[in-house]
Symmetry: C2
Subunit: 401 residues, 2 copies
Amino acid sequence: MRKALDGLRVLDLTRVYAGPYCTMVLADMGAEVIKVENPAGGDDTRRIGPYKDHQPGEERSGYFAMLNRNKYGVTLNLKHPTAIDLFIRLVTQADVVVENYAPGTMQKFGLGWEVLQQANPRVILASISGYGQTGPLSARPSYDGNAQALSGLMSLIGAPDGPPMRVNPAIGDSSAAIHAAFGILCAVYARERTGRGQWVDVAQLDAVFSIMESAVVNYTLAGNVLGRVGSRHQDVCVYDVFRCRDGYVYLGAYKPHHWGNLCRLLDRPGWVTDPRTATNDQRLAHYEGLIKPVIEAWAAHHDADALVTLLDAESIPCAKVQTVDQAVHHPQLRARDMVVPVAHPVMGRIELPGITCKLSDTPGGVDRPPPLLGEHNAEVYGRLLGLTADELVALRRDGVI
Amino acid sequence: MRKALDGLRVLDLTRVYAGPYCTMVLADMGAEVIKVENPAGGDDTRRIGPYKDHQPGEERSGYFAMLNRNKYGVTLNLKHPTAIDLFIRLVTQADVVVENYAPGTMQKFGLGWEVLQQANPRVILASISGYGQTGPLSARPSYDGNAQALSGLMSLIGAPDGPPMRVNPAIGDSSAAIHAAFGILCAVYARERTGRGQWVDVAQLDAVFSIMESAVVNYTLAGNVLGRVGSRHQDVCVYDVFRCRDGYVYLGAYKPHHWGNLCRLLDRPGWVTDPRTATNDQRLAHYEGLIKPVIEAWAAHHDADALVTLLDAESIPCAKVQTVDQAVHHPQLRARDMVVPVAHPVMGRIELPGITCKLSDTPGGVDRPPPLLGEHNAEVYGRLLGLTADELVALRRDGVI
């Protein structure tokens, strides 16, 4: 036993971001993930940049590489009846199937939940979609932006007097993905008692709606419709981002000792007891008119690194707003192995994001590059289905794989 | 067997958001989560709003309610030696311990990993922190804002000419939380083979860094440092948010058939073949100067609902940017049970966010309100440790519970 999920076999029909992120975390933790791609070019992200050294090519996409490391890759044309037979034979030997097609597509392929369940009552199907498998919008086309818009999330992000702002990295995808990975392991745990698999249905809309902190209960319990407040926090104060001479710094000083230390740094010792600023509620009421301008003026006279040094010395939670290149080189992220090297047969040595969950006894790891298109056809179809080299040649000739 | 995680016992030392979200998804799926609070007021969020009907009170916080439904609640003063003895006795009967104290705090309590492991070699400890248990910044105080700033995420969000923008709902917390819940189930799965528990270490910084879509590989593979692009997507086009007469609408029309349909709606049929706009790459190059102003002018003449109707009729992915109250009442989220009622002994009937992972055979559910402070002391300490009513009185008198 090397990794936590060793022994868990996953058939991965997913494409683009949400589905592949889900199966990535499973593969990082040791699951045997077999990525199934259409033979006519495979996953769309093979044709989305960034490309290694800006040179496009099907085996040169960083987008594809980051999400599909550690996986085996086979091709299968799901519009061909023979391919469906082969897939169902794989299902009989699998623990989990993951897909992120539009709802209804699996049924069109002849791979609906009832079919999979009949082939293998122990198999777990996880479906990730924009709106979910049920509900009036289920069949509508949907991306991350739909979830961010409809959930209300976008209405909460941006300047108070500005437009709503999408979270640029597609949070609808990543949030649904990790919820689905959790849901799959819930189903695996349940199966050890019931002996049965089940269908795990995760919607991007639901996933985003579930991570809006107190916005939902603000409305349902108190009738407050929260809106945009910039980078500050609406419940605790001071908690905001300030412009410095050469960048921006976040600071969070709402606990009494942090606030006291900040007052000293600001040369406003009286604010510790001032009835306008002594408590969190008082500060929230007097932030824009009184406190914020003072901190803004103070921050504007410092470089970001110098400001962080001052705040750090007073143990006030703070951080420089880093650009991505700064983050990639930051000693904390490096110490946590959050940027890991992988040797790739076409791209050479590349660096990918590391593994978030650190397990002390059976740690995950990025051990293998993403698969070339169809790289493991012979290995997987040979090992699992006993297909011979001649049979594979025929399947390729017939457009099945 | 009712729910997927029935039989999994979790001791929950967490406070505020990240930790309680993690144990919430475990409890929603059926784990027996025993929330341990200090007797002097309990979780800080009991004193953070929103309060039911705007009336403050320790048992009236919506913030606390949403995160702690389905949990049992006991009190324990971890600064008291007797409390530590009691907690270790609980550990011998637990599967998982979850905590989100600053790194080093558990050791100060006398509850470091080695102590827990010695008490119960099968127990799993999950620690959620800002920077993680290791690395040069590990001991620094850290909130969600630290992770959003240092990871580079904030540098990616906001208007191109505006300041970096924090994701207002604390994504550092929720992202770390769900990664940790996944990590815990990985450890549970591993334990069925190894017989041993392990320590799961999740940092908010790592969790946010891992959900920045292609930003990391853009830098490591191609040297591109991505920045702020407003609500548009930097890789696909058209994918943006537009102002209407009475609000905003997101639309995503980058696939050929969606783009063709949008060109027809815009009365620009020539754009389908125009060498400035025919392909995704061409559109990315001519978006700001050519395409965006035309869509902006078109959108500005419509109400949001009317625009969605037009786009829907052409099957173009789109959604109105809803406010939170609109989202709470939306038929899709209602059909998915994403707003669920709970009867609370003090607040009466309240509505909380529902459950993201839909399992077909052993679905989760919100069956019980959040615990009153110490509500289950007699039940839990009696059932698990055999303590009598007299012993509980003495423990309360001595400030232990």
